[in-house]
Symmetry: C2
Subunit: 209 residues, 2 copies
DNA sequence: CAATGGAGTTAATTAACGTTAACTTACAGG
DNA sequence: CCTGTAAGTTAACGTTAATTAACTCCATTG
């Protein structure tokens, strides 16, 4: 009741969410004016204030939303005794997000700094939970005599693999008419890249150089 | 002569470059004012105009600079007949950039959209050259019956590995007092993750699912 | 010693943007 | 039919930010 109140999902509000996400991803939060967002949904700028208390609130809504969905879906997939299977499920789930919600994935780690302190703390907490989820699974999947059994190493590897999986928007940025990979091929490729990265990092720590 | 003229490296200008990069990385290009940049180097905002023609020009200078350095250093490292050795050298070189110039790596793929068309085209060209460099080496390092022999697959994999290597700023964002990895451990970890990713993606295309 | 130009300063200009106010319209319910 | 409310509109307000103008201050140099 004290924090930013619940979202509520009317059709108009959902439309605003979609268009705002698209515009923020394309030109940055500060680079988009409320008039522009309004125009994208067929109303004037100030009309948006019937649906959101302000521009900041739209961004907060988007980032909290995607963060919660990531954690919820992640928790669902991480359970079960078999750590290798859990990791596989986490990777697949994240790939789905990265491919289906490119705009949100882009905003998620780019516009965090434009949130008001309270909202930023909230999103950070959720992001931290999501990372913890992965770190635990990774450490169980690659136990003791491995390069990923330790906290800091596993954490850094997880961050790095997030960077890898979230790279889709950058690949797609070269869109136009090129013969890019179709969704399934891209998903399969990302899956192999991610698991291959973890396996190699887990392998005996000293075969580089 | 028609495009943005040559940089020229006076001490003051270099100082401005450093501080501007730091501030842009921390709060975004549109989120920092010229007065703030001025203050960081000990002068007032308008004083900056003796050294750069405008705020846009500072960003352009930074992005063109890092892009050129990446391509130059990349070309140097990619030469030689042994494709595997060349790939290894490219990875090591990129890791050095990612660890030593975190601010610039952050800006490099985040603030591109705030450049004027002409500068953006120029940076895009350089980035494309850099990707080409990697794609060629990857395809030679993992030839025909491999998942990375084809153009689109190799290109997507390279983008993904860039995302992985450029993840350092995000890891470091959790800075504070945590026992993060020291530079050498981080470099070694990233190296294993990157090469492991490529190897796994190259391996026979159908062992997932 | 005069003059020139680089490096700053403060003040003014201009444009844009988020938000609020006041007013309109359409429709749902008693 | 009347009334209230949700969802818009246009106009106005207050701020902020980039850039330019006009002016000082030195340090060099002819």
């Amino acid at each position: 009741m004290s924090h930013t109140d619940a979202p509520a999902a009317t059709p108009r509000r959902d439309q605003i969410r979609r268009e705002a996400a698209r515009l923020f991803a394309a030109r940055g939060f500060l680079g988009v004016g409320v008039d522009e967002i309004g125009k994208a949904v067929g109303i004037t700028g100030p009309g948006l204030y019937r649906h959101f208390p302000g521009k900041d609130a739209m961004l907060a809504d988007l980032l909290v939303g995607i963060s919660e969905r990531l954690v919820d879906e992640g928790r669902r997939r991480a359970q079960g005794a078999d750590a290798a299977a859990a990791l596989d499920a986490l990777v697949r789930g994240h790939i789905d997000f990265a491919l289906d919600d490119q705009d949100l994935i882009t905003l998620h780690d780019r516009e965090l700094l434009h949130l008001k302190d309270e909202d930023r703390r909230r999103v950070r907490r959720l992001q931290r939970s999501y990372v913890e989820l992965w770190v635990d699974v990774v450490r169980r999947a690659f136990p003791e005599p491995s390069g990923l059994a330790g906290e800091p190493g596993a954490r850094a590897a997880v961050h790095a693999v997030f960077g890898l999986l979230n790279s889709t928007p950058h690949s797609a940025a070269a869109r136009g008419a090129q013969p890019v990979l179709d969704r399934d091929s891209m998903a399969a490729l990302l899956h192999r890249l991610a698991l291959g990265a973890f396996s190699a990092a887990a392998g005996t720590a000293g075969h580089d150089r």
